[in-house]
């Protein structure tokens, strides 16, 4: 748990050199990857950790007594401990449940904690800027049990409108919000929301899918109850996610998926679930993916998440100011212009050019951005948009990526202008 004890060093050029995919050529140009908000790229350390695992240690976990089975189990549980330390979990690894991704984490939260705790009329308070992963499971639960799903509105300056928070918290049992919007880049005041939620007798869940790789995450300091994130957005592999839950809450949660690995006993008349996090991990888990996630955590700790946050901030300030000065009146930034509490996810609405066309022209320059609604349709509707073109940074991004983005944007605008 020695957060901060590691010697860290950050050099974005070195990070870039560590990522093999960033050497790729696309359409005759070096790739300019600005889609880390959708999925980050993997440093060699992550790819090699997974290869080494398959070459040397692969076996099923928690079963065999032989050498490699023990090693595989140690790898798997070692990843859990690394994740617990990374987010400063007060109860350590026993609070870390491995899932497939953030979406599965929210489904687990809704189906297990939600379905067993909430009764008709109870309120889950989410926000208008949530990803569908933090909306749809609550609607499903509402349709099955009669709970209410309420939304914190988003203000015209792309922030949560908390002016009526006391009123909104009426009858709320869970506040479930994103720490950083995957569309706007807005970083929300999670500590403040946690205090308000607890004051109203509610728990708080946090969608950290974006925030986890844009700065440090400390669940103790934030004083939250649940935290969900995905490995592949933090330099790790796909197929592995986390639901961290405060131990006192986790104890009361029933299993969601049933099967092997999650039981203490199975008889002809029923079953007894396993204790601890094992009861949420039915079936053979994605073992190599946890090894990859562990390597990603180690890698990020080596960079220092404070350094990563500073770098992200610097890139964001630079990109926003250049976009504003070069494209005033032609490109609208759909997100806060104020760079305080704002991360490197930049949604663009280009005057007269549809986001799909923007992305298509950008591809010609090897620039990878995401067009679409970014799985946040209520938010898009709030701002009268069908889609945006979104550029997002990772720890390996450089200002030169923004150079290419601006060059390609100019070409897109002149093509359609």
């Amino acid at each position: 748990m020695a957060t901060g004890a590691r010697v860290t060093s950050f050099n974005a050029r070195r990070v870039r050199a560590d990522v093999p995919l960033l050497r790729r050529m696309v359409n005759g140009r070096r790739i300019t990857y600005l889609d880390s908000g959708a999925s980050s790229l993997q440093p060699r350390a992550v790819i090699e950790a997974m290869s080494r695992y398959y070459e040397l240690r692969h076996a099923n976990v928690h079963r065999g007594v032989y050498q490699t089975a023990n090693e595989a189990t140690e790898e798997y549980e070692g990843a859990r401990a690394a994740v617990a330390s990374f987010i400063n979990a007060p109860g350590g690894p026993d609070e870390v449940v491995f899932t497939k991704n953030t979406t599965e984490s929210f489904n687990l939260l809704a189906h297990s904690w939600g379905a067993s705790t909430l009764t008709p009329g109870d309120v889950v308070l989410v926000s208008e800027m949530e990803h569908h992963a933090n909306i749809v499971p609550w609607f499903q639960l509402r349709d099955a049990t009669g709970i209410e799903v309420r939304f914190i509105p988003v203000s015209d300056d792309y922030r949560l409108d908390l002016t009526k928070l006391d009123e909104l918290l009426e009858g709320v049992k869970l506040v479930s919000v994103t720490a950083m919007s995957n569309v706007l880049g807005t970083k929300n005041p999670i500590g403040e929301l946690a205090q308000a939620a607890h004051g109203a007798g509610a728990l708080i869940a946090v969608d950290a899918a974006q925030s986890i790789v844009h700065g440090p995450t400390d669940v103790r300091e934030l004083d939250v109850d649940f935290l969900a994130f995905s490995g592949h957005k933090m330099l790790g592999p796909t197929g592995i996610g986390v639901l961290w839950t405060r131990a006192s809450v986790l104890e009361s949660m029933p299993p969601f998926l049933g099967g092997g690995g999650m039981i203490a006993d199975v008889r002809l008349d029923g079953f007894t679930p396993a204790k601890g996090v094992a009861r949420f991990e039915a079936g053979t888990p994605p073992i190599a993916e946890t090894v990859g996630l562990h390597a990603a955590v180690r890698y990020l700790e080596g960079l220092g998440m404070d350094n990563v946050a500073d770098h992200d901030h610097e890139l964001t300030v630079d990109a926003l100011s250049r976009l504003e000065s070069n494209f005033a009146g032609r490109v609208r930034i759909v997100g806060p212009h104020d760079t305080k509490d704002r991360g490197g996810v930049i949604s663009l609405d280009v005057e007269g050019v549809h986001p799909h066309d923007v992305a298509q022209v950008l591809d010609e320059f090897g620039v990878c951005v995401r067009p679409g609604h970014h799985c946040a349709k209520p938010l898009m509707r709030r701002f009268g948009l069908a889609a945006t073109a979104r550029a997002s940074f990772g720890p390996y991004s450089l200002k030169s990526d923004t150079d290419v983005l601006l060059e390609a944007l100019e070409a897109a605008i002149s093509m359609f202008g």
Binding site: H356, E364, G372, A386, F416
Partner: protein
């Protein structure tokens, strides 16, 4: 010509900037049909005035990318005032153009005829090289076919 220039030909950009047959028709007598592309949020609404076996008039509203909007516009210009069987034949030919791979297109003995029959619509053939954009180009056409089927059934 680069793939990109082939995709965004002048005729496509022209139809995107100045879409033809934009607007609404009174329903009834016209039939209204809507098409969506849930992936990218593109929308097209068609108003079809069909009588005596002829698509006498067509108007449309909607929003989306240059490919979906220009395809709608080009389509409306191509099918307006045509006999329904010609409209269906045009839909078939266009969809064939969209599904045909490059090689198949080159080897297809009727390609010349097809392209000629498509007229301005042939400008959309560059879309084939961008598989994810094919659904943009075909949105209006699928919506038109659905609308005509609804008219036939009523």
């Amino acid at each position: 010509m680069s793939n990109l220039e082939n995709l965004y030909r002048e005729i496509i950009l022209d139809h995107y900037r100045s879409p033809r047959n934009r607007g609404e028709l009174a329903t009834p007598p016209a039939h209204k049909v809507e098409g969506f592309n849930p992936l990218c949020g593109d929308e097209v609404t068609l108003y079809l005035d069909v009588h005596d076996g002829v698509l006498a008039d067509i108007k449309m509203t909607g929003h989306g990318c240059s490919i979906s909007q220009s395809s709608s516009s080009l389509m409306s210009a191509a099918v307006k005032g045509k006999a329904l069987e010609d409209v269906h034949a045009t839909i078939d030919t266009f969809k064939e153009l969209m599904t045909g791979h490059e090689v198949a297109l080159e080897e297809h003995h009727d390609v010349e005829v097809d392209l000629r029959r498509l007229g301005e619509l042939a400008a959309l053939q560059g879309v084939v090289k961008f598989p994810v954009r094919i659904k943009c180009a075909t949105l209006a056409w699928n919506t038109l076919r659905q609308g005509l089927e609804e008219v036939a059934a009523s």
